[in-house]
């Protein structure tokens, strides 16, 4: 009797989306399963029970469980270690520079279309981070892109070593009669590989402190000298940090600060940190690095840094920087890094397990292992091959997106954005 029922259900499965309530357990068989830790299983089977992976490996399918047959690749959902999805500008507080208690989790709107867009691009977990324009930006939140799941209310303490955290305070650019200072270092850090402060030509007069790198270090050191609240948790290694730094000298300063105060966590930015001096310094600091997002015209020197970091054992993850960058850009960043010489297994890890580690949620997800969340994506081929398509995306065992879901009816927010979700959004 149950056998007949089971077969009936199996037949129905292929066409209709099903919910966890109606099917607490099911199995997926794919031509290739990428576990996420570098291993892969051919013709593997994964059993999902109550939203978690209960079994994974080669083997027979269970005739009692509904089966999702997939002729392509099954991979863990991507983890993007920085984004401003759905924040609608909440990530930047211009009036003050030091906000240790600001929590990005309060800016989390789970129904926002940015998350749906991310999910459709295969991203199942994101880190909501402040903008990097504040010296102490606050506390990040780690959330899933569907289901409104908050994995970490206080993911990292975000600190910024970048010039943009100082540039809000600079006064008028004075017309120097004699060109005494370094007048050439004005381009943004990525296009000017020499480094140097960002262009402050149109910076407003401000009232925020500090205005100098030395001032910033002093403020941070004072707070870590006799740390309280979030600082003490960070100093004890209980709360990881997310350090923003762009120019190479800023990266060096950030790495040294982390070493001196024995902070754990990751550094965000660092496009040219593939420089051997800088990469060594980062390796010694024990920090991970969140790179990207990379664009098509990205300098080769930037792209090569991923490989250089991974060669030194520095964990790497990718940033999403949505909604400014389209969520599909995460895969593009990975593909570009691959083209510049990074190893395929390393790049995949940067999207999955290493990213989960940096996000601080590696006990729950990042790889497809027994007991971890069933966040996975069914691809038509290798996810790092840009011609592969996403067939479906599953979070906590529920299918949240399928390519065969009719024409997507745009929500009001997307209308305002004006772009069709299927097209690669270029902004």
């Amino acid at each position: 009797m149950s056998f007949v029922l089971g077969a009936l259900v199996t037949g129905v499965l292929g066409s209709a989306p099903f919910t966890q309530e109606s099917n607490p357990a099911y199995q997926v068989r794919a031509k290739m399963i990428l576990v996420g830790d570098g291993t892969q299983i051919e013709d593997g089977v994964m059993v999902v029970e109550r939203g978690k992976v209960s079994r994974i490996g080669r083997g027979e399918i269970d005739p009692h469980l509904p089966l999702v047959e997939h002729a392509g690749v099954l991979a863990p959902g991507f983890v993007a270690c920085q984004t401003e999805s759905g924040e609608e500008g909440e990530g930047y507080e211009p009036t003050r520079s030091i906000l240790p208690e600001a929590r990005l989790v309060h800016a989390f709107h789970p129904d926002h279309s940015d998350f749906a867009a991310a999910a459709r691009a295969g991203i199942t977990t994101v880190v909501l981070a402040p903008s990097g324009n504040d010296l102490v930006g606050g506390l990040t939140a780690v959330v899933k892109t569907a289901g409104g799941v908050i994995l970490e209310r206080e993911g990292h303490l975000a600190l910024s070593f970048g010039g943009s955290a100082l540039s809000q305070t600079v006064g008028r650019s004075f017309g120097f009669g004699t060109a005494d200072e370094d007048a050439q270092a004005s381009a943004s850090s990525d296009s000017d590989p020499r480094g140097g402060p960002e262009d402050t030509e149109d910076a407003r007069r401000g009232s925020r402190q500090p205005t100098s790198y030395s001032g910033a270090l002093r403020e941070l050191r004072e707070r870590f000298a006799k740390p309280q609240g979030v600082y003490s948790r960070a100093a004890r290694g209980e709360l990881p940090v997310l350090l923003e730094a762009w120019d190479r000298h800023e990266v060096m300063r950030a790495a040294e600060f982390a070493r001196d105060h024995r902070l754990i966590g990751a550094l965000r930015g660092a496009p040219l940190a593939g420089d051997p001096d800088v990469a060594d310094s980062l390796a010694k600091s024990g920090l991970g690095v969140v790179v990207g997002p990379y664009a098509i015209g990205q300098r080769r020197r930037s792209l090569e840094s991923v490989g250089m970091f991974q060669a030194r054992g520095v964990p790497v993850a990718f940033a999403l920087a949505s909604p400014e960058y389209a969520p599909e850009g995460l895969r593009l960043s990975a593909a570009l890094a691959l083209s510049a010489g990074a190893k395929r297994e390393d790049v995949l890890r940067a999207l999955t397990t290493d990213a989960a580690k940096i996000a601080g949620v590696s006990d729950r997800l990042g790889s497809l292992e027994r007991g971890k969340d069933a966040d996975f994506v069914l691809w038509s081929g290798d996810p790092l091959d840009l011609s592969s398509r996403i067939e479906s995306v599953w979070i906590d065992g529920k299918r949240v997106h399928a390519r065969t879901d009719g024409m997507h009816r745009p929500t009001r927010e997307e209308d305002a954005g004006g772009a069709h979700p299927r097209e690669a959004r270029h902004r």
Binding site: D192, P193, R194, R299, R300, R301
Partner: protein
Amino acid sequence: MNANLLRSLPLVWCLCASSSARADPAGGDKLVIEAGRILTQAGTEIENGVIVIENGRITAIGKADEIKKPWDAPVIGGPDRVAFPGFVEAHTSQGMDRPNENVEVAPFLDVRDSVDPVAFYFEDCLRYGITTINVQHGNDCVIGAQGMIVRPVGLTIEEMVVRPQYGLKLVAAARGGHSRATQMQTLRQTFEGLRRYLEDLVEKERGERGYAEREALFQGKELEGEKKKGRAMEGTAWKVDGLELVPRGAIDEKQAPLLDVVEGRRAAFFYCANAADVANALAIARENGFLAKTTLVIAPACWQAVDIIAEAGTPVVLQGPLVEKRRDPITGEEQETFVPGVLRDKGVDFALSSLDGGPRSLWYQAALAVGLGLEREAAMDAVTKVPAEILGLGNDVGSLEVGKLGNVLLFSGDPLGVTSWVEEAVVEGRKVYDRREDVRNRHLLEGIQPPNTAAAASAEEPKDQDAAAQTRKEKETEETEKKDGDGGKREEKP
């Protein structure tokens, strides 16, 4: 510039009043110059030499004991002097009230109306030894004014002129607000316009004899003598048949200088900012038949076009720094190119230019070029013989030889040496500069007498202080009296 001028007027008045650096030359029509060394720039160096100048030209040059000196000629110089031909500035836009006019195509203008005899630039020319200068319109135009060659002597234009209405300035580099395409468009259209104008004129003349002459008279031009004669068209790239029917003077003054250029009667100075401009400039010159009379005025970035320059055989004047810096887009590293070296390697004749501001003059550019690897001879030539040839004055200036103009500098040492000064300068046989009388130079070197001399300084009292500081001061004084080992640097206050 005006503010500077106003401030300098009292000084200029002093300069005028005294028999100073740039006063009218003293002396008659003969001059004898003695020098411990004469660097002729003609392949020879003469020890204990003598130069005899009569009526503005060198009549004798050689060793002192071999030359007969006219008994009635004043003698200047001495055994500690080094004689050198006056430097030649192949192209400059300095020395004018403003180097650029707003009109894009302005061949009817003449820099003569803009040159400022009292400009600092000409003063510095004498001070640093430039005796022949080609003044041309600036780089912010499409076709600029007619230029002129001047000597930096005299307080009126008439005294300064060596060759009036010399050369025409053309610019291939996109001027402000333009793109290269529109710049080229305007250049081509201008020459097209010339051709159409001439054809029109010929047609009207054919239709109605005397038309051109009547038009000219109507415009107030007097046609006499040569101007009344018709002219044949001598362009090598294109001609207009029947132009011989039109009298010379009847050609509109807007078009006449362009016609001179096309016919190869007038030099063309073509400014280029980068390699693409060079190709465009050479194309325009070839299309209109004036390549042979073209000199390219190039910015440092043009070194990339050196091959086509060498192929065209045009000489160049390098305007701007000797080294071009460029950032490699891939590695981000800076690349430096020594431009004169590239030109020399490809056999391109080049002259150097002085940069803004006094001491960075031709001697300095030549010296820096040597320091960067150019052979000394090539560097010296680039500021004497090559510019002389470019200006068509190869028989007059650029070296010390019999028959050439008596433009002689007397240096206190090697002309490219950093401690050498121009002590005296002679232009066409007249001494026009003497450093001992150069008030501005003295001012810079020696300054105004400091208002606070030793007497004033010792009379300085400590400022009013509150009690605390006073007491502390007394304590400090005691302490320093006890301390030793200050190296005697501190003196007690009185």
